[in-house]
């Protein structure tokens, strides 16, 4: 792994800098997991996920020693990733109107039906508010506790629990509505 360059406070002997080496090791070990989390946070937007991870690592590199001193560096980076993503969502202009998609009804194969089911739940997750989606991803993908989800999102465990609960309720209600629609059709 080549050390990151650009505007960093690393001295000329950066390659010998133990912090730099640890940064490389951290990236090598955790970048795939961070990308997966970012991919879910962005609702399956690969380029946006890559941007979020890269921006996070770029911001953290100059103060990597502080990251290393954290109790849980992975949690620290994940929280930074969440902040990066949530900030980018807040600052991004709304440019796409999400429309409700009407499902095709008819005879489909099991594989096609499974794909339709998969797309349905992904769409519902995409349509959740960002913090609710982030809470669901942290709970059900990263397997974090309420306390850890709260830390990552910068809120109290009770608030994290509420975000998860509301996200689940929304998904459940939409799925039920869809099933009722199928029966009525």
């Amino acid at each position: 792994m080549r050390a990151a360059a650009g505007k960093t406070p690393v001295a000329a002997d950066a390659l010998a800098d133990p912090d730099s080496v640890d940064f490389d090791e951290f990236v090598r070990t955790h970048v795939a997991a961070l990308l997966r989390t970012a991919y879910l946070l962005t609702g399956g937007d690969g380029p946006a996920a890559e941007d979020a991870v890269q921006e996070t690592l770029t911001r953290l590199y100059p103060r990597w020693a502080k990251v290393q001193r954290a109790d849980n560096p992975v949690a620290y980076v994940r929280r930074s990733l969440l902040n990066t993503y949530l900030n980018s969502v807040r600052s991004a202009p709304a440019h796409e109107l999400v429309m409700r998609v009407v499902e095709e009804r008819g005879v489909t194969s099991d594989i096609a039906q499974a794909a339709v089911d998969r797309d349905q739940i992904r769409r519902l997750i995409r349509q959740l508010p960002e913090r609710q989606r982030a809470a669901l991803v942290l709970r059900y993908f990263d397997d974090l506790s309420d306390r850890e989800v709260g830390r990552a999102l910068g809120c109290r465990p009770g608030t994290a629990r509420s975000l998860i609960s509301r996200g689940l309720a929304t998904v459940r209600a939409e799925l039920s509505r869809s099933q009722v629609g199928d029966r009525d059709a």
Binding site: L35, D45, A112, I121
Partner: protein, 472 residues
Amino acid sequence: MPEDLETRLRRELQAWAAEAPPPQAVSVRDDAAAPDMPVKRIRPTWLLPAIAACLVFLVAGATVGGIALVRHLAHTQPTAPSSVTSPPSPSGPPPSVSPTGPHNSATTPTSSPTRPSGAVGPAGGPVPAGFTVHDLTFVSDDAGWALGTAPCPNRPCTSLVRTTDGGRHWVGLRPPVVGLVGVDDCSSACVSNVRFATPVIGYLFGPQVFYLTTDGGTTWQRQAGGAAALEIGDGNVLRVPSGDGQACFPGCPVSVQVSTIGGTGWRTVLALSSAQVGSDTGVQLSRSSGHAYLQVYGHVSGGASQAHSALYASADGGLNWASRGEPCPQISSGEIDASALSSASDQSVTVLCTQRSGSASFVAVSTDGGRTFQPGKLLPNLETQVGSASSSTVFAIGSVGGRESLVRSVDRGLTWNVVAQSGPMTAAAAPRSGFLGFESPTTGRWVSVSGPRTVWTTRDGGATWVSYTFPT
């Protein structure tokens, strides 16, 4: 007992996350994995915008200061504002497509401006007016590229465009200055296809040329040789290298090579001699979910000898191959030959079978790795395109009411319905053959021969299709 929502969420999120881009796509990249890739460096995302802001500030300051200075020096003589405040000449990105000027050395990478932060791929410019599609590639439901051409003053006019929202919007990129098969004089070099493995690693290739990009199409490095086919999957790249242009009798040898994604070293994994190949007229690669297929087509206009095709199958991502012979069941009198191939993510493979003497065709589907094929109903007017979303849901192009039509079967080719129609079916539309492909059981694309400016997209397994037409 139905699965509870939390369990389902865990399962769906795990499956979804598995589709995340590979770590190589992030700028922090392991050199050992791809020694030939240029390494993009991490740069604070605010750095270039900040520099740009400073420059704007300085220019504005200089302009205001200049006005004040001129007015001060001129005293009573008014200064023409335009002489001081006229904007600098445009310095925005040059047109990213419609290459002009002489063809520079093929080994010299072309380049275009990049986005300031660690974004993936170039920002892109306008799509050239009159763009027509010749080939498509998608790395996800949203991220795709189209290779084509557009009118321009100086040929070649090969163009490349990209979408990041599933085909709703496109931007132009700058490909190498090279001709396009079927459009330009290809005595020197032409590309015919584009394939991307990730948002940053992609290939442009033709019979005599082979280009690789590792920065989303900002720069292209020419590699040795050319390729007749290339497909990506299962963590590697398979290609069929083209011959050296020399005539071979009875046919030119065919081989399959494998490389790592973005790598430049190739290893031969299947080699077929001239005698094995016969007088072939083309090859096709198709792969999905661990399975890979190579079809070598026979010369159906080549005289009295049989012109059967030959299918080769791999169940380990293209590393080991087995011969399956002619895949088409010989269900009627007279020779029946395969003329198109498509594989689906459920590991099924579908071939289009055509009577050598006659115009009737049928599709045949295999769910056992190409060992046996189940034929569909024999129909007239099916053309040389076939697609498959799954073993049961297959597609073909045909003439219905004189119009080029995409037809769909959900029972392995026994019954068909028209799901999209393009323009009149005319022989004048050759030599393009259109595009039909599925990225998943639900998402697929079609570009017709008669309407090459339109990309049709389905997201429901081919039941309904929406179109995007490039502006004239």
